[in-house]
């Protein structure tokens, strides 16, 4: 089973992006950073008690599923859209959604376009190897307008082409667009069009068939989300773990009940996971939130209590 493998190895093999601003990138010391990366660290902390016990395996759009299917990685946390065929036909198991996204368009202001439907005849840059190509084809087909796709391999090349005016519009997940725009010299010269042409629930996934492992990853994600909802932060977690009045907090932090044991983990698994980088909200703020150069708003990714879609099942 995967859990045993991971424990025996002492390291979690986590499939990451080869480089996506805010989600996964190596820093000057060679350490990986980013939102997806932080999730991997949380899982490692939950399973092994050590957030640094992770090997990041960069994967491309092409290689990611093979890497997971062949067992090269235990977990793929690489902004992968949860779709029917991937779940059923490719035999993977999505454990949840850690980022609700949707495909959008970015255009320069001077183009004078205010809706994607006005893009008839436009040249559109897309990253290949994702669902975006299919969504794009469907969108233009449905609206009966023509376009010229310019496929690019990486986000970087897409930016370059877009900035130089080699494409009129750049389409990818709205989070990516916002992130990219933030790094422009003059972000204000570019706008995101209102149409979001697809649902892109991005989430971590594991192999089909190993439900125990799937449960661990799923509930680690849920623990991070619940922690935010319940106000557990990396700052107050030590204090809270000495016991609180809220039984759910206690159950999560392992001071009450035996949730960890049921998962086959230590009692403080969720505590470790949360301590690794903070709760969901902290991770978001630190890596992609409004205080970072990327500056994403919570939007759909706010807690359900704040009108967002994040909704963790209860820990009981």
């Amino acid at each position: 089973a995967t859990l045993d493998d991971v424990k025996a190895r002492g390291k979690l093999n986590c499939g990451a992006n080869t480089g996506l601003v805010g989600f996964a990138a190596p820093n000057a010391n060679g350490e990986w950073e980013g939102f997806d990366v932080a999730f991997c660290r949380a899982v490692a902390a939950a399973v092994l008690g050590d957030p640094t016990a992770v090997e990041f395996i960069p994967t491309t759009g092409k290689t990611r599923f093979t890497a997971l299917a062949s067992g090269e990685v235990d977990l793929l946390a690489r902004n992968t859209t949860w779709t029917f065929t991937r779940d059923i036909d490719l035999k993977f198991e999505f454990v949840g959604v850690n980022y609700y996204d949707g495909q959008g368009f970015m255009v320069p202001k001077e183009l004078g376009v205010s809706s994607a439907k006005e893009l008839d005849g436009a040249t559109v840059c897309i990253q290949t190897g994702t669902t975006t190509e299919l969504n794009l084809a469907d969108f233009f087909r449905a609206n009966n307008i023509s376009y010229e796709p310019v496929p690019v391999e990486t986000d970087n090349e897409a930016q370059q082409q877009y900035l130089a005016g080699a494409c009129d519009a750049y389409t990818t997940d709205a989070s990516g667009l916002a992130a990219v725009r933030a790094t422009f010299e003059t972000p204000g010269d570019h706008i995101l069009l209102p149409e979001i042409i697809s649902k892109e629930p991005l989430g971590p996934l594991v192999r089909h068939g190993d439900n125990d492992w799937g449960d661990i990853v799923r509930w680690t994600l849920n623990a991070l989300i619940s922690a935010e909802e319940l106000g557990i932060t990396s700052a107050n977690i030590d204090e809270l773990s000495s016991g609180t009045d809220n039984p759910e907090i206690n159950r999560i932090l392992g001071t009450e009940g035996s949730l960890g044991e049921m998962l086959g983990l230590e009692a403080d698994w969720a505590k470790n996971a949360i301590k690794a980088g903070g709760n969901y909200g902290e991770l978001f703020e630190k890596n992609v939130g409004e205080t970072t150069p990327i500056g994403l708003a919570r939007g759909l990714n706010a807690q359900w209590t704040n009108g967002g879609l994040l909704y963790s099942p209860p820990f009981r």
């Binding site: 036909d89 035999k91 436009a122 190509e133 796709p149 310019v150 690019v152 090349e157 370059q160």
Partner: protein, 439 residues
């Protein structure tokens, strides 16, 4: 003297399988074959087991499913509802297109550079050396990415052509637009055109679907359409060339008889050009100029940046190797040949065409063809600039959308292999034909 005895009739012994030269080779071969079969069997068995575990038995039916994605450069009809199979063919044609264009350019550049490297102008020959060394010693993938970046960053965007006082303007009387999306050049149009000839009816093609109202199948139904106009013009042009070659033969005859060569170039030019021009006029030939409309230039032939970048970088990279081949080929023809020809009073240009080139070509062509092979294989790096070749379609998006790694990668390899084998077969044929006669 020893007495002669009949050799004892040997009976077959097991040791003979190893120690008898007659059987030994058979033994070794059978062992090799068995070893190979075991290895192959093992691999296949593993594959079958693994595929069973993954629940993905080998199955090519996905090729018939709609591809779902768009391809920007398509030499045959294609849209996102066409099948994966058709997308594959579109990719293959794109591969062949860039390979052919690349080989031609690489040859031209390579020959020029190779000859210039032998120039007696120090500066020029040094410049060419620098070119060759720089291109040979940096990976081709880097060149492809580089070239693309240069095109994107240095050429004006279409928006720069806009406005009262545009930053950029079209070249050659507003007929050619160089933009960072690609190059737009005028396209030939026929106001009295003859239409297209569909070949290889393709039931997958959306155009072939019987319309819901039961009307006739659209005439663009076919794997390929060949323009009848083009066929006609080509036929007339070829006929002109044939006539021209007849004129040349006559000139040869006259030269053989009298020693003087009649001037025939105007006749030959006329015989080729006049009928061709006449046909063009009859078909109502005119140029469709690219024009800035909406977001892009419209009309004209659109050579995308990805094609140009790939084409340029592959050509320049390969040309560096070809230049070395050409140089070596020319140097391989000994100085004595040039001197002997010069001593006979031949002019330098004649020495080149009558003595050096015919000999150098024998040395040059075989390695040249293997460079063509390399170029074709390197064209698979097209994905780095998003050029939708075979690797981009079949082994790229199709693989990614269908998850059929085994089928797509094997198909892709097979296609490349066939191209390579075809090219090498051509080379062997050539080699046999031009072997120098020796004692």
């Amino acid at each position: 003297m020893s007495t002669m005895t009949d050799p004892p009739k040997e009976s077959f012994k097991l040791g003979m399988l190893i120690y008898d030269t007659r059987y030994r080779s058979i033994t070794i071969q059978i062992v090799a074959l068995i070893g190979f079969l075991i290895l192959a069997g093992w691999l296949i068995n593993n594959t079958i087991n693994n595929l069973a575990v993954l629940g993905k038995p080998i199955d090519f039916t996905f090729l018939r499913d709609p591809a779902g994605y768009d391809i920007n450069q398509r030499l045959i009809d294609y849209n996102s509802q066409s099948s994966h199979w058709r997308a594959t063919v579109v990719g293959l044609l794109n591969t062949l297109l860039v390979a052919v264009l690349g080989c031609i350019t690489a040859t031209v550049v390579g020959v020029i550079v190779g000859v210039l490297r032998l120039s007696n102008n120090w500066l020029v020959s040094r410049l060419m050396t620098v070119y060759v060394e720089i291109f040979r010693n940096v990976p081709v993938l880097l060149w492809i990415v580089f070239t693309m970046a240069i095109l994107i960053e240095t050429l004006p965007a279409p928006r720069d052509f806009r406005g009262e006082d545009p930053e950029a303007s079209m070249l050659l009387f507003d007929s050619v637009a160089l933009t960072n999306r690609g190059v737009y050049i005028p396209e030939p149009l026929f106001s009295r055109g003859l239409g297209d000839l569909p070949i290889l009816p393709d039931t997958d093609s959306p155009a072939c679907a019987i319309p819901e109202d039961g009307g006739p199948v659209s005439d663009s139904c076919g794997m390929f359409q060949i323009s009848l106009d083009f066929l006609l013009i080509a036929a007339v042009f070829l006929a002109g060339l044939y006539a021209s070659s007849k004129i040349r033969q006559r000139a040869d005859r006259i030269q053989n008889q009298t020693g003087d060569r009649p001037t025939t170039w105007y006749l030959r030019l006329g015989v080729v050009m006049i009928p061709t021009l006449a046909v063009l006029a009859i078909l109502g030939f005119h140029l469709g100029m690219p024009e800035l409309q909406g977001f892009n230039f419209q009309g004209g032939i659109y050579l995308r940046n990805s094609l140009i970048a790939l084409w340029l970088s592959l050509s320049l990279y390969t040309a560096a190797f070809i230049a070395e081949i050409v140089r070596a080929g020319i140097l391989a023809i000994s100085k004595g040949q040039t001197e002997a020809a010069a001593a006979l009073g031949l002019w330098p240009n004649r020495i080149m065409s009558l003595v050096i080139l015919p000999q150098a070509l024998r040395v040059i062509i075989p390695p040249l063809i293997s460079q063509y092979l390399n170029l074709t294989k390197n064209s698979s790096l097209a994905i780095a600039v998003g050029y939708m070749d075979l690797t981009g379609t079949l082994m790229g998006i199709t693989l990614n959308q269908t998850g059929r790694e085994l089928e797509t990668v094997l198909m892709g390899m097979l296609v490349y292999l066939s191209i390579s084998l075809a090219i090498s077969a051509g080379m062997n044929l050539y080699n046999q034909r031009v072997k120098l006669v020796e004692r």
